[in-house]
């Protein structure tokens, strides 16, 4: 009996709050990032200094990139949503080690780079619609004549420590009994240097990063990327604070609108099939089938099987 009254009371309260919801959508009830952006009059975009072509420092030390262009679109959507055309867009550099603390403490509102969206990371942050899909492959010297995973048997390979790629090559090594020596490197540039100097025969990494490293090498034609991939294509996403549904909604809508419009395709071509600053290298990475699907029906899932 008592619980019945309580239930009815709850239902009434719910009904009331639902009825009031449309009224409370105005500025004074903004929460999370949208409120913070409105109060401070600025939205802060975190960028990486060397994630070519997603987010990096161009010729005049100004951050540029594919992910950054997408973030500017999100910032425009935030401006429109808040009705603040003069909202300031600030840029703040981040590294793989600082991106989480800076996002958590409110220094940055969007992280624009090449951050893989996976289930484990979704416990700490959320991601908007994936902007790129990349599979794990390896780059080696053309003279070594390596194309498949089997070709690597018994050889020394390198990967960047702390990445999902080094985990995958470790697993493949055990499962397929390849007998590899796997060296961890501090960052991508150094891992590539290890292949260049012969400390390792191959560098296992996201294929898009390999393409950019090879394209900017002294002699791009001396390197080739493996034909066989080690993983399903994994999604890159733009990071937003966790459990901030109103802000994520703005970001999701803005990115979905961009990706499904012809502008999305043009943006992709600008960074992946044409010469890019600062040295006018061309990555030559036409859109894959998975990417075309993602741009027709954008999703933000951390599960590679969903793409």
């Amino acid at each position: 009996m008592q619980s019945d009254i309580a239930r009815r009371g709850l239902a009434a309260a719910l009904g009331l709050s639902l009825a009031l919801a449309p009224l409370s959508l105005r500025a004074e009830d903004l929460t999370g990032t949208l409120k913070k952006v409105k109060d401070s009059g600025a939205i802060v975009i975190g960028y990486r200094d060397a994630s070519v072509p997603f987010s990096y420092l161009g010729g005049d030390q100004k951050p540029v990139g594919y992910a950054l262009d997408i973030c500017f679109k999100i910032a425009d959507a935030v401006k429109a949503n808040l009705g603040l055309p003069n909202l300031e867009v600030k840029l703040n550099p981040v590294t793989s080690a600082t991106r989480i603390p800076l996002m958590a403490n409110g220094t940055i509102d969007l992280e624009c780079g090449s951050t893989t969206n996976n289930a484990e990371r979704e416990k700490q942050v959320n991601f908007t619609n994936s902007h790129f899909l990349t599979a794990t492959r390896y780059v080696s010297k053309k003279s070594a004549n390596l194309h498949t995973i089997e070709d690597l048997k018994g050889k020394t390979v390198v990967s960047t420590s702390g990445t999902t790629n080094i985990k995958q090559i470790n697993e493949a090594n055990t499962e397929r009994k390849l007998g590899l020596t796997i060296l961890p490197a501090k960052d991508h540039a150094e891992a590539f240097l290890m292949v260049e100097t012969g400390r390792a025969v191959a560098f296992v990494m996201d294929d898009v990063l390999l393409a950019s490293l090879a394209a900017s090498a002294k002699d791009p034609s001396a390197f080739e990327i493996s034909t066989e991939a080690l993983s399903k294509p994994e999604p890159y996403g733009i990071m937003v604070r966790k459990d901030d549904a109103p802000f994520k909604k703005v970001a999701d809508e803005a990115t979905a609108k961009l990706y499904t419009s012809p502008e999305g395709k043009a943006l992709y071509d600008k960074w992946f099939t044409k010469p890019i600053p600062p040295r006018n290298i061309n990555l030559n990475l036409p859109m894959s089938a998975e990417m075309q699907k993602q741009f027709t029906t954008p999703i933000a899932s951390p599960d590679p099987a969903a793409y």
Binding site: A97, E171, T197, D244
Partner: protein, 240 residues
């Protein structure tokens, strides 16, 4: 702060597939300790030698000692790591270079040699300061007793000098221990490198670095305590 604290993360299986995140950090700690101890052996003996060279009554010996110290303490440690790891194998004959590159655990050996040579330059300065702080009469007394230069250093000057410089040497030892983290740039999977990969995998950055900090503090406290006992054990009764 919008952060999802999870202190139980240490007991979750790490994605590397061999144990938990805690095991990962502890394996990093082992590499840190191994690197620190091995490089300290080089630093102590080479540093003592260079320090003595700088106090000998020979111009050539002084010049060699000074050149060594200035070279190794003026080049940033990070640059030295890169020189040892990437440049050295290219300047030696190709066969030797290839052999170095194929060495298993190459980052470990490189880090030991690099840190050893770097810290030696700092130890050398401490040793020199210790010797020069002794009254000049001590060396003269040695000569008057008919000691050779070697004997004067071995039995008169160094035993006193080492006692004087024990506290700053403890600092050098601690510095050396923490400097091992620079070796993560050449791929040594020591404590800081492990904390970094833990935060990349799990995104639990504060937990990872808190644990690493605590581990560093604990080993440093152990070293400081041991040094205090050592100081007491070797003190000359009645001095000071």
């Amino acid at each position: 702060m919008n952060y999802n604290w999870n202190w139980r993360i240490f007991f979750d299986a790490s994605p590397e597939g061999n144990g938990t995140y805690l095991d990962m950090l502890l394996s990093g700690l082992m590499w840190t300790i191994a690197t620190a101890l091995c490089s300290w052996l080089i630093a102590f003996f080479l540093g003592s030698l260079i320090g003595v060279l700088r106090t000998l009554p020979s111009k050539t010996a002084n010049a060699i000692g000074t050149a060594y110290v200035e070279l190794f303490r003026n080049v940033p440690l990070l640059v030295q790591m890169f020189l040892w790891y990437f440049v050295l194998p290219e300047v030696v004959p190709t066969q030797v270079g290839d052999a170095i590159k194929q060495l298993p655990d190459a980052p470990f050996y490189t880090a030991v040699v690099c840190l050893g040579f770097f810290t030696a330059s700092r130890v050398a300065e401490q040793v020199r300061a210790g010797i020069q702080s002794l009254p000049r009469g001590q060396g003269m007394a040695g000569t008057a007793m008919g000691f050779t230069v070697y004997q004067t250093y071995r039995y008169v000057l160094l035993p006193n000098a080492y006692r004087i410089i024990l506290p700053p040497m403890t600092s050098e030892f601690l510095n050396n221990l923490k400097n091992t983290s620079v070796a993560l740039t050449i791929g040594l999977l020591e404590l800081t490198a492990r904390a970094r990969s833990m935060q990349e995998f799990s995104f639990q950055v504060f937990e990872a670095f808190t644990a690493a900090t605590l581990l560093y503090v604990i080993i440093n406290l152990v070293v400081v305590t041991a040094a205090t006992y050592l100081e007491r054990a070797v003190a000359i009764p009645g001095q000071r």
